[in-house]
Symmetry: C2
Protein backbone atom coordinates (compact mmCIF):
# COMPACT_ATOMS: atom_id res chain seq x y z
CA UNK A 1 0.00 0.00 0.00
CA UNK A 2 1.66 3.22 -1.14
CA UNK A 3 -0.58 5.47 0.94
CA UNK A 4 -1.82 3.37 3.84
CA UNK A 5 -3.15 6.32 5.77
CA UNK A 6 -5.73 6.86 3.05
CA UNK A 7 -6.95 3.28 2.82
CA UNK A 8 -10.24 2.58 4.55
CA UNK A 9 -10.93 -0.31 6.91
CA UNK A 10 -13.50 -3.05 6.46
CA UNK A 11 -15.11 -3.89 9.82
CA UNK A 12 -16.69 -7.28 10.42
CA UNK A 13 -19.15 -5.94 12.95
CA UNK A 14 -20.54 -8.60 15.28
CA UNK A 15 -24.08 -7.61 16.27
CA UNK A 16 -24.63 -10.37 18.81
CA UNK A 17 -27.85 -12.36 19.17
CA UNK A 18 -30.33 -9.67 18.15
CA UNK A 19 -31.14 -7.35 21.05
CA UNK A 20 -29.80 -3.89 20.24
CA UNK A 21 -28.50 -3.30 23.77
CA UNK A 22 -26.55 -6.59 23.65
CA UNK A 23 -24.34 -5.07 20.96
CA UNK A 24 -20.97 -3.98 22.27
CA UNK A 25 -20.16 -0.37 22.95
CA UNK A 26 -17.54 -0.64 20.17
CA UNK A 27 -20.04 -1.99 17.61
CA UNK A 28 -22.61 0.61 18.60
CA UNK A 29 -20.10 3.42 18.13
CA UNK A 30 -18.81 2.14 14.78
CA UNK A 31 -22.30 1.63 13.41
CA UNK A 32 -23.59 5.05 14.47
CA UNK A 33 -20.62 6.67 12.74
CA UNK A 34 -20.74 4.55 9.59
CA UNK A 35 -20.82 5.96 6.05
CA UNK A 36 -21.06 2.57 4.31
CA UNK A 37 -23.03 -0.36 5.70
CA UNK A 38 -23.00 -3.78 3.98
CA UNK A 39 -25.01 -6.88 4.95
CA UNK A 40 -26.01 -10.28 3.63
CA UNK A 41 -29.61 -11.14 2.93
CA UNK A 42 -31.71 -13.60 1.01
CA UNK A 43 -33.19 -12.11 -2.17
CA UNK A 44 -36.56 -10.53 -1.48
CA UNK A 45 -36.02 -10.43 2.30
CA UNK A 46 -35.03 -7.49 4.48
CA UNK A 47 -32.30 -9.53 6.15
CA UNK A 48 -31.99 -10.34 9.85
CA UNK A 49 -28.72 -8.45 10.39
CA UNK A 50 -30.20 -5.33 8.82
CA UNK A 51 -33.39 -5.66 10.87
CA UNK A 52 -31.43 -5.79 14.14
CA UNK A 53 -29.95 -2.33 13.53
CA UNK A 54 -33.10 -0.68 12.23
CA UNK A 55 -33.02 2.97 13.23
CA UNK A 56 -29.31 2.97 14.08
CA UNK A 57 -27.79 3.63 10.65
CA UNK A 58 -26.96 7.32 10.23
CA UNK A 59 -28.85 9.40 7.67
CA UNK A 60 -26.92 9.52 4.43
CA UNK A 61 -25.03 6.29 4.97
CA UNK A 62 -24.89 4.13 1.85
CA UNK A 63 -26.32 0.65 2.28
CA UNK A 64 -24.99 -2.31 0.31
CA UNK A 65 -27.18 -5.43 0.51
CA UNK A 66 -25.36 -8.57 -0.57
CA UNK A 67 -28.02 -11.00 -1.80
CA UNK A 68 -27.25 -14.71 -1.65
CA UNK A 69 -27.65 -16.28 -5.08
CA UNK A 70 -28.49 -19.63 -3.47
CA UNK A 71 -29.04 -20.81 0.04
CA UNK A 72 -31.01 -24.00 0.30
CA UNK A 73 -32.28 -24.50 -3.25
CA UNK A 74 -29.16 -26.42 -4.34
CA UNK A 75 -27.85 -29.30 -2.20
CA UNK A 76 -24.49 -28.73 -0.53
CA UNK A 77 -23.16 -31.83 -2.29
CA UNK A 78 -23.74 -30.28 -5.74
CA UNK A 79 -20.42 -28.83 -7.00
CA UNK A 80 -22.33 -25.86 -8.42
CA UNK A 81 -23.15 -24.80 -4.86
CA UNK A 82 -19.57 -23.93 -4.01
CA UNK A 83 -18.92 -22.40 -7.44
CA UNK A 84 -21.92 -20.08 -7.30
CA UNK A 85 -21.21 -19.01 -3.72
CA UNK A 86 -17.54 -18.51 -4.45
CA UNK A 87 -18.34 -16.20 -7.35
CA UNK A 88 -20.83 -14.31 -5.18
CA UNK A 89 -18.27 -13.76 -2.41
CA UNK A 90 -15.72 -12.61 -5.00
CA UNK A 91 -18.20 -10.00 -6.31
CA UNK A 92 -18.98 -8.73 -2.80
CA UNK A 93 -15.31 -8.58 -2.00
CA UNK A 94 -14.51 -6.56 -5.11
CA UNK A 95 -17.03 -3.91 -4.06
CA UNK A 96 -15.78 -3.70 -0.47
CA UNK A 97 -12.15 -3.62 -1.57
CA UNK A 98 -12.87 -0.77 -4.00
CA UNK A 99 -14.52 1.26 -1.24
CA UNK A 100 -11.60 0.69 1.14
CA UNK A 101 -9.08 1.56 -1.57
CA UNK A 102 -11.01 4.78 -2.18
CA UNK A 103 -10.42 5.64 1.48
CA UNK A 104 -13.84 4.70 2.81
CA UNK A 105 -14.47 2.66 5.96
CA UNK A 106 -17.14 0.00 5.53
CA UNK A 107 -19.12 -1.71 8.27
CA UNK A 108 -20.27 -5.26 7.43
CA UNK A 109 -23.16 -6.30 9.70
CA UNK A 110 -22.74 -9.82 11.10
CA UNK A 111 -25.31 -11.69 13.18
CA UNK A 112 -23.74 -13.29 16.25
CA UNK A 113 -19.94 -13.48 16.43
CA UNK A 114 -18.27 -13.03 13.02
CA UNK A 115 -15.67 -15.82 13.45
CA UNK A 116 -18.14 -18.39 14.83
CA UNK A 117 -19.96 -20.09 11.92
CA UNK A 118 -20.43 -16.71 10.24
CA UNK A 119 -20.60 -15.68 6.59
CA UNK A 120 -18.23 -12.76 7.05
CA UNK A 121 -15.25 -15.12 7.13
CA UNK A 122 -15.71 -15.76 3.42
CA UNK A 123 -15.17 -12.05 2.79
CA UNK A 124 -12.47 -11.81 5.43
CA UNK A 125 -10.22 -14.45 3.87
CA UNK A 126 -10.56 -12.74 0.47
CA UNK A 127 -9.87 -9.20 1.77
CA UNK A 128 -7.37 -9.48 4.59
CA UNK A 129 -4.22 -9.44 2.47
CA UNK A 130 -5.31 -6.39 0.45
CA UNK A 131 -6.97 -3.90 2.79
CA UNK A 132 -7.20 -3.46 6.58
CA UNK A 133 -9.91 -5.66 8.06
CA UNK A 134 -10.95 -5.57 11.70
CA UNK A 135 -13.26 -8.07 13.33
CA UNK A 136 -15.38 -6.92 16.27
CA UNK A 137 -16.35 -9.98 18.32
CA UNK A 138 -19.83 -10.27 19.76
CA UNK A 139 -22.10 -12.40 21.91
CA UNK A 140 -22.86 -15.67 20.15
CA UNK A 141 -26.41 -16.83 19.60
CA UNK A 142 -25.65 -19.83 21.80
CA UNK A 143 -24.68 -17.58 24.76
CA UNK A 144 -28.04 -15.84 24.43
CA UNK A 145 -29.74 -19.25 24.23
CA UNK A 146 -28.23 -20.68 27.40
CA UNK A 147 -28.81 -17.38 29.21
CA UNK A 148 -32.47 -17.61 28.16
CA UNK A 149 -32.82 -21.05 29.77
CA UNK A 150 -32.04 -19.53 33.17
CA UNK A 151 -29.38 -22.11 33.96
CA UNK A 152 -25.61 -22.20 33.45
CA UNK A 153 -24.40 -24.19 30.45
CA UNK A 154 -21.12 -25.36 32.04
CA UNK A 155 -19.79 -25.91 35.56
CA UNK A 156 -16.35 -26.87 36.84
CA UNK A 157 -14.59 -29.09 34.30
CA UNK A 158 -17.59 -29.76 32.05
CA UNK A 159 -16.85 -30.53 28.40
CA UNK A 160 -18.91 -28.44 25.97
CA UNK A 161 -19.61 -29.73 22.45
CA UNK A 162 -21.17 -27.61 19.71
CA UNK A 163 -22.78 -29.57 16.88
CA UNK A 164 -24.51 -28.64 13.64
CA UNK A 165 -27.79 -30.45 12.97
CA UNK A 166 -26.54 -31.04 9.43
CA UNK A 167 -24.17 -33.81 10.60
CA UNK A 168 -25.06 -37.50 10.04
CA UNK A 169 -27.37 -39.00 12.66
CA UNK A 170 -24.93 -41.59 14.00
CA UNK A 171 -22.19 -38.98 14.39
CA UNK A 172 -24.62 -36.67 16.20
CA UNK A 173 -25.76 -39.43 18.56
CA UNK A 174 -22.23 -40.56 19.37
CA UNK A 175 -21.06 -37.02 20.17
CA UNK A 176 -24.21 -36.14 22.13
CA UNK A 177 -23.58 -39.15 24.39
CA UNK A 178 -19.92 -38.24 24.87
CA UNK A 179 -20.16 -34.70 26.26
CA UNK A 180 -21.31 -32.95 29.43
CA UNK A 181 -22.85 -29.81 27.96
CA UNK A 182 -24.26 -29.64 24.44
CA UNK A 183 -25.32 -26.99 21.93
CA UNK A 184 -26.97 -27.94 18.62
CA UNK A 185 -27.37 -25.30 15.92
CA UNK A 186 -28.69 -25.38 12.31
CA UNK A 187 -31.52 -27.60 13.43
CA UNK A 188 -34.45 -26.29 11.32
CA UNK A 189 -35.00 -28.96 8.66
CA UNK A 190 -32.83 -31.42 10.59
CA UNK A 191 -35.04 -31.44 13.65
CA UNK A 192 -36.38 -35.00 13.28
CA UNK A 193 -32.86 -36.38 12.88
CA UNK A 194 -31.65 -34.31 15.84
CA UNK A 195 -34.50 -35.60 18.01
CA UNK A 196 -33.70 -39.22 17.15
CA UNK A 197 -30.00 -38.67 17.85
CA UNK A 198 -30.77 -37.08 21.24
CA UNK A 199 -32.96 -40.07 22.14
CA UNK A 200 -30.28 -42.55 21.08
CA UNK A 201 -27.78 -40.61 23.22
CA UNK A 202 -30.11 -40.54 26.24
CA UNK A 203 -30.14 -36.72 26.29
CA UNK A 204 -33.61 -36.01 24.86
CA UNK A 205 -35.38 -35.41 28.17
CA UNK A 206 -32.73 -32.92 29.28
CA UNK A 207 -32.82 -30.89 26.05
CA UNK A 208 -34.23 -27.38 25.79
CA UNK A 209 -35.33 -25.64 22.62
CA UNK A 210 -34.64 -21.91 22.49
CA UNK A 211 -36.15 -19.92 19.63
CA UNK A 212 -35.26 -16.31 18.85
CA UNK A 213 -32.90 -16.01 21.85
CA UNK A 214 -32.63 -12.42 23.16
CA UNK A 215 -35.28 -11.20 20.70
CA UNK A 216 -38.77 -10.02 21.68
CA UNK A 217 -40.22 -13.29 20.33
CA UNK A 218 -37.91 -15.48 22.47
CA UNK A 219 -39.32 -18.83 23.63
CA UNK A 220 -37.75 -21.48 25.88
CA UNK A 221 -39.36 -24.93 25.88
CA UNK A 222 -38.35 -28.44 26.95
CA UNK A 223 -37.72 -30.08 23.58
CA UNK A 224 -40.03 -32.95 24.49
CA UNK A 225 -42.90 -30.41 24.81
CA UNK A 226 -42.05 -28.44 21.67
CA UNK A 227 -44.32 -30.28 19.28
CA UNK A 228 -43.63 -30.36 15.56
CA UNK A 229 -43.35 -26.67 14.83
CA UNK A 230 -39.74 -25.55 15.01
CA UNK A 231 -38.58 -22.17 13.77
CA UNK A 232 -36.40 -22.97 10.78
CA UNK A 233 -33.43 -20.78 11.46
CA UNK A 234 -33.23 -19.18 14.90
CA UNK A 235 -33.53 -22.32 16.98
CA UNK A 236 -30.81 -23.66 19.25
CA UNK A 237 -30.93 -26.79 21.38
CA UNK A 238 -29.25 -26.68 24.78
CA UNK A 239 -28.35 -29.52 27.17
CA UNK A 240 -26.78 -28.20 30.38
CA UNK A 241 -23.66 -29.65 31.95
CA UNK A 242 -23.95 -30.98 35.50
CA UNK A 243 -20.37 -30.50 36.72
CA UNK A 244 -18.90 -29.73 40.13
CA UNK A 245 -20.83 -27.16 42.15
CA UNK A 246 -19.93 -26.30 45.74
CA UNK B 1 -42.80 -11.49 48.00
CA UNK B 2 -45.44 -9.28 49.63
CA UNK B 3 -44.25 -6.09 47.96
CA UNK B 4 -42.47 -7.19 44.78
CA UNK B 5 -42.28 -3.67 43.38
CA UNK B 6 -39.95 -2.72 46.21
CA UNK B 7 -37.58 -5.66 45.90
CA UNK B 8 -34.30 -4.93 44.16
CA UNK B 9 -32.75 -6.99 41.40
CA UNK B 10 -29.38 -8.75 41.45
CA UNK B 11 -27.69 -8.45 38.05
CA UNK B 12 -25.08 -10.95 36.95
CA UNK B 13 -23.30 -8.49 34.74
CA UNK B 14 -21.15 -10.12 32.06
CA UNK B 15 -18.18 -7.85 31.34
CA UNK B 16 -16.81 -9.82 28.41
CA UNK B 17 -13.13 -10.53 27.82
CA UNK B 18 -11.64 -7.38 29.32
CA UNK B 19 -11.76 -4.47 26.86
CA UNK B 20 -14.15 -1.84 28.18
CA UNK B 21 -15.67 -1.16 24.76
CA UNK B 22 -16.41 -4.88 24.30
CA UNK B 23 -18.92 -4.64 27.13
CA UNK B 24 -22.49 -4.55 25.90
CA UNK B 25 -24.49 -1.36 25.81
CA UNK B 26 -26.78 -2.94 28.43
CA UNK B 27 -23.92 -3.75 30.81
CA UNK B 28 -22.38 -0.33 30.32
CA UNK B 29 -25.69 1.37 31.18
CA UNK B 30 -26.38 -0.81 34.23
CA UNK B 31 -22.88 -0.32 35.59
CA UNK B 32 -22.84 3.45 35.14
CA UNK B 33 -26.14 3.67 37.02
CA UNK B 34 -25.22 1.24 39.80
CA UNK B 35 -25.51 2.00 43.53
CA UNK B 36 -24.11 -1.35 44.69
CA UNK B 37 -21.30 -3.19 42.90
CA UNK B 38 -20.12 -6.64 44.04
CA UNK B 39 -17.23 -8.68 42.64
CA UNK B 40 -15.11 -11.72 43.42
CA UNK B 41 -11.41 -11.43 44.07
CA UNK B 42 -8.56 -13.30 45.62
CA UNK B 43 -7.58 -11.95 49.05
CA UNK B 44 -4.96 -9.25 48.72
CA UNK B 45 -5.60 -8.72 45.00
CA UNK B 46 -7.59 -5.95 43.30
CA UNK B 47 -9.52 -8.50 41.24
CA UNK B 48 -9.65 -8.77 37.45
CA UNK B 49 -13.37 -8.02 37.11
CA UNK B 50 -12.98 -4.88 39.22
CA UNK B 51 -9.92 -3.80 37.23
CA UNK B 52 -11.81 -4.04 33.93
CA UNK B 53 -14.34 -1.42 35.05
CA UNK B 54 -11.88 0.96 36.69
CA UNK B 55 -13.21 4.49 36.28
CA UNK B 56 -16.75 3.39 35.34
CA UNK B 57 -18.29 2.93 38.79
CA UNK B 58 -20.30 6.01 39.79
CA UNK B 59 -19.14 8.16 42.68
CA UNK B 60 -20.90 7.12 45.85
CA UNK B 61 -21.62 3.56 44.74
CA UNK B 62 -20.93 1.00 47.48
CA UNK B 63 -18.44 -1.70 46.51
CA UNK B 64 -18.65 -5.20 47.95
CA UNK B 65 -15.56 -7.32 47.31
CA UNK B 66 -16.19 -11.04 47.83
CA UNK B 67 -12.82 -12.57 48.72
CA UNK B 68 -12.31 -16.26 47.96
CA UNK B 69 -11.30 -18.12 51.12
CA UNK B 70 -9.41 -20.67 49.02
CA UNK B 71 -8.61 -21.01 45.37
CA UNK B 72 -5.71 -23.28 44.62
CA UNK B 73 -4.21 -23.89 48.08
CA UNK B 74 -6.48 -26.88 48.78
CA UNK B 75 -6.78 -29.64 46.16
CA UNK B 76 -10.19 -30.01 44.52
CA UNK B 77 -10.34 -33.59 45.74
CA UNK B 78 -10.21 -32.51 49.40
CA UNK B 79 -13.78 -32.51 50.80
CA UNK B 80 -12.97 -29.33 52.73
CA UNK B 81 -12.66 -27.50 49.40
CA UNK B 82 -16.35 -27.77 48.60
CA UNK B 83 -17.38 -27.12 52.21
CA UNK B 84 -15.36 -23.95 52.52
CA UNK B 85 -16.48 -22.60 49.15
CA UNK B 86 -20.09 -23.49 49.84
CA UNK B 87 -20.02 -21.55 53.11
CA UNK B 88 -18.38 -18.62 51.32
CA UNK B 89 -21.05 -18.51 48.62
CA UNK B 90 -23.76 -18.71 51.27
CA UNK B 91 -22.25 -15.68 53.05
CA UNK B 92 -22.05 -13.67 49.83
CA UNK B 93 -25.60 -14.64 48.95
CA UNK B 94 -26.93 -13.52 52.34
CA UNK B 95 -25.48 -10.06 51.80
CA UNK B 96 -26.82 -9.70 48.25
CA UNK B 97 -30.25 -11.02 49.26
CA UNK B 98 -30.44 -8.53 52.13
CA UNK B 99 -29.67 -5.65 49.77
CA UNK B 100 -32.29 -6.76 47.26
CA UNK B 101 -34.87 -7.24 50.02
CA UNK B 102 -34.11 -3.71 51.18
CA UNK B 103 -35.05 -2.52 47.69
CA UNK B 104 -31.55 -2.04 46.32
CA UNK B 105 -30.38 -3.21 42.91
CA UNK B 106 -26.95 -4.85 42.96
CA UNK B 107 -24.60 -5.34 40.04
CA UNK B 108 -22.30 -8.37 40.34
CA UNK B 109 -19.30 -8.00 38.01
CA UNK B 110 -18.55 -11.18 36.05
CA UNK B 111 -15.57 -11.72 33.76
CA UNK B 112 -16.58 -13.24 30.43
CA UNK B 113 -20.11 -14.65 30.12
CA UNK B 114 -21.75 -15.36 33.52
CA UNK B 115 -23.27 -18.74 32.56
CA UNK B 116 -20.12 -20.08 30.86
CA UNK B 117 -17.76 -21.52 33.51
CA UNK B 118 -18.39 -18.48 35.73
CA UNK B 119 -18.48 -18.06 39.50
CA UNK B 120 -21.70 -16.07 39.44
CA UNK B 121 -23.72 -19.25 38.89
CA UNK B 122 -22.96 -20.28 42.48
CA UNK B 123 -24.70 -17.13 43.68
CA UNK B 124 -27.41 -17.39 41.04
CA UNK B 125 -28.59 -20.85 42.10
CA UNK B 126 -28.75 -19.69 45.73
CA UNK B 127 -30.61 -16.44 44.99
CA UNK B 128 -32.97 -17.07 42.10
CA UNK B 129 -35.88 -18.45 44.12
CA UNK B 130 -35.81 -15.57 46.64
CA UNK B 131 -35.17 -12.32 44.76
CA UNK B 132 -35.20 -11.23 41.11
CA UNK B 133 -31.94 -12.12 39.36
CA UNK B 134 -31.09 -11.09 35.81
CA UNK B 135 -28.13 -12.38 33.86
CA UNK B 136 -26.61 -10.12 31.21
CA UNK B 137 -24.73 -12.31 28.71
CA UNK B 138 -21.38 -11.18 27.35
CA UNK B 139 -18.61 -12.05 24.95
CA UNK B 140 -16.74 -15.11 26.18
CA UNK B 141 -12.99 -15.09 26.64
CA UNK B 142 -12.76 -17.77 23.96
CA UNK B 143 -14.50 -15.52 21.38
CA UNK B 144 -11.92 -12.83 22.07
CA UNK B 145 -9.18 -15.46 21.76
CA UNK B 146 -10.21 -16.79 18.37
CA UNK B 147 -10.81 -13.24 17.13
CA UNK B 148 -7.26 -12.40 18.24
CA UNK B 149 -5.81 -15.21 16.10
CA UNK B 150 -7.16 -13.51 12.97
CA UNK B 151 -8.83 -16.67 11.71
CA UNK B 152 -12.33 -18.11 12.08
CA UNK B 153 -12.72 -20.84 14.69
CA UNK B 154 -15.46 -22.78 12.84
CA UNK B 155 -16.62 -23.16 9.23
CA UNK B 156 -19.56 -25.01 7.73
CA UNK B 157 -20.42 -28.06 9.82
CA UNK B 158 -17.31 -28.04 12.03
CA UNK B 159 -17.64 -29.60 15.47
CA UNK B 160 -16.34 -27.35 18.27
CA UNK B 161 -15.15 -28.88 21.55
CA UNK B 162 -14.32 -26.82 24.64
CA UNK B 163 -12.05 -28.57 27.16
CA UNK B 164 -10.64 -27.63 30.56
CA UNK B 165 -6.93 -28.32 31.02
CA UNK B 166 -7.81 -29.86 34.38
CA UNK B 167 -9.16 -33.05 32.71
CA UNK B 168 -7.06 -36.25 32.71
CA UNK B 169 -4.47 -36.45 29.95
CA UNK B 170 -5.94 -39.46 28.14
CA UNK B 171 -9.40 -37.89 28.09
CA UNK B 172 -7.93 -34.64 26.75
CA UNK B 173 -6.00 -36.45 24.00
CA UNK B 174 -8.97 -38.55 22.94
CA UNK B 175 -11.27 -35.52 22.68
CA UNK B 176 -8.66 -33.34 20.97
CA UNK B 177 -8.30 -35.98 18.25
CA UNK B 178 -12.07 -36.29 17.82
CA UNK B 179 -13.07 -32.70 17.02
CA UNK B 180 -12.65 -30.19 14.21
CA UNK B 181 -12.22 -26.98 16.20
CA UNK B 182 -10.85 -26.91 19.73
CA UNK B 183 -10.67 -24.51 22.66
CA UNK B 184 -8.71 -25.37 25.82
CA UNK B 185 -9.14 -23.23 28.93
CA UNK B 186 -7.76 -23.43 32.51
CA UNK B 187 -4.38 -24.36 31.13
CA UNK B 188 -2.00 -22.52 33.51
CA UNK B 189 -0.53 -25.23 35.71
CA UNK B 190 -1.80 -27.93 33.35
CA UNK B 191 0.21 -26.71 30.39
CA UNK B 192 2.66 -29.64 30.22
CA UNK B 193 -0.18 -32.15 30.30
CA UNK B 194 -2.09 -30.16 27.67
CA UNK B 195 0.97 -30.05 25.40
CA UNK B 196 1.44 -33.82 25.66
CA UNK B 197 -2.23 -34.44 24.95
CA UNK B 198 -2.14 -32.16 21.89
CA UNK B 199 0.90 -34.05 20.58
CA UNK B 200 -0.77 -37.42 21.15
CA UNK B 201 -3.82 -36.13 19.28
CA UNK B 202 -1.76 -34.79 16.38
CA UNK B 203 -3.00 -31.23 16.94
CA UNK B 204 0.07 -29.64 18.56
CA UNK B 205 1.45 -27.94 15.45
CA UNK B 206 -1.92 -26.34 14.67
CA UNK B 207 -2.42 -24.96 18.20
CA UNK B 208 -2.27 -21.25 19.06
CA UNK B 209 -1.72 -19.79 22.49
CA UNK B 210 -3.62 -16.57 23.20
CA UNK B 211 -2.77 -14.68 26.39
CA UNK B 212 -4.81 -11.75 27.70
CA UNK B 213 -7.21 -11.77 24.73
CA UNK B 214 -8.71 -8.33 24.00
CA UNK B 215 -6.55 -6.70 26.69
CA UNK B 216 -3.66 -4.27 26.01
CA UNK B 217 -1.18 -7.05 26.87
CA UNK B 218 -2.68 -9.52 24.35
CA UNK B 219 -0.26 -11.96 22.70
CA UNK B 220 -0.92 -14.59 20.01
CA UNK B 221 1.75 -17.26 19.49
CA UNK B 222 1.93 -20.68 17.84
CA UNK B 223 1.99 -22.95 20.89
CA UNK B 224 5.10 -24.70 19.59
CA UNK B 225 6.94 -21.34 19.77
CA UNK B 226 5.57 -20.29 23.14
CA UNK B 227 8.39 -21.61 25.29
CA UNK B 228 7.89 -22.51 28.91
CA UNK B 229 6.42 -19.30 30.22
CA UNK B 230 2.63 -19.43 30.13
CA UNK B 231 0.43 -16.89 31.90
CA UNK B 232 -1.28 -18.88 34.62
CA UNK B 233 -4.81 -17.70 34.24
CA UNK B 234 -5.62 -15.74 31.09
CA UNK B 235 -4.36 -18.22 28.53
CA UNK B 236 -6.54 -19.99 26.01
CA UNK B 237 -5.44 -22.52 23.39
CA UNK B 238 -7.17 -22.45 20.01
CA UNK B 239 -7.12 -24.98 17.18
CA UNK B 240 -9.13 -23.79 14.18
CA UNK B 241 -11.63 -25.92 12.31
CA UNK B 242 -11.00 -26.50 8.62
CA UNK B 243 -14.57 -27.03 7.38
CA UNK B 244 -16.29 -26.24 4.09
CA UNK B 245 -15.37 -22.89 2.58
CA UNK B 246 -16.60 -21.81 -0.85
Amino acid sequence: MSAPSKTGTVYGLGLGPGAVDLMTVRADRLLRGARHVAFFRKAGRSGQARRIVDGMIPDGAVEFPMEYPVTTEIPLSDPRYNEILSEFYADCTAHLRALAEAGEDVVVLCEGDPFFYGSFMHLYTRLKDDVPVQVVPAITGMSAAWTATGAPITWGDDVLTVLMGTLPEDDLARRMADTDALVVMKIGRNIDKVRRALKTAGRYDAAWLVEYAAMPTQTVTPLADAGDKITPYFSIIIVHGQGRRP
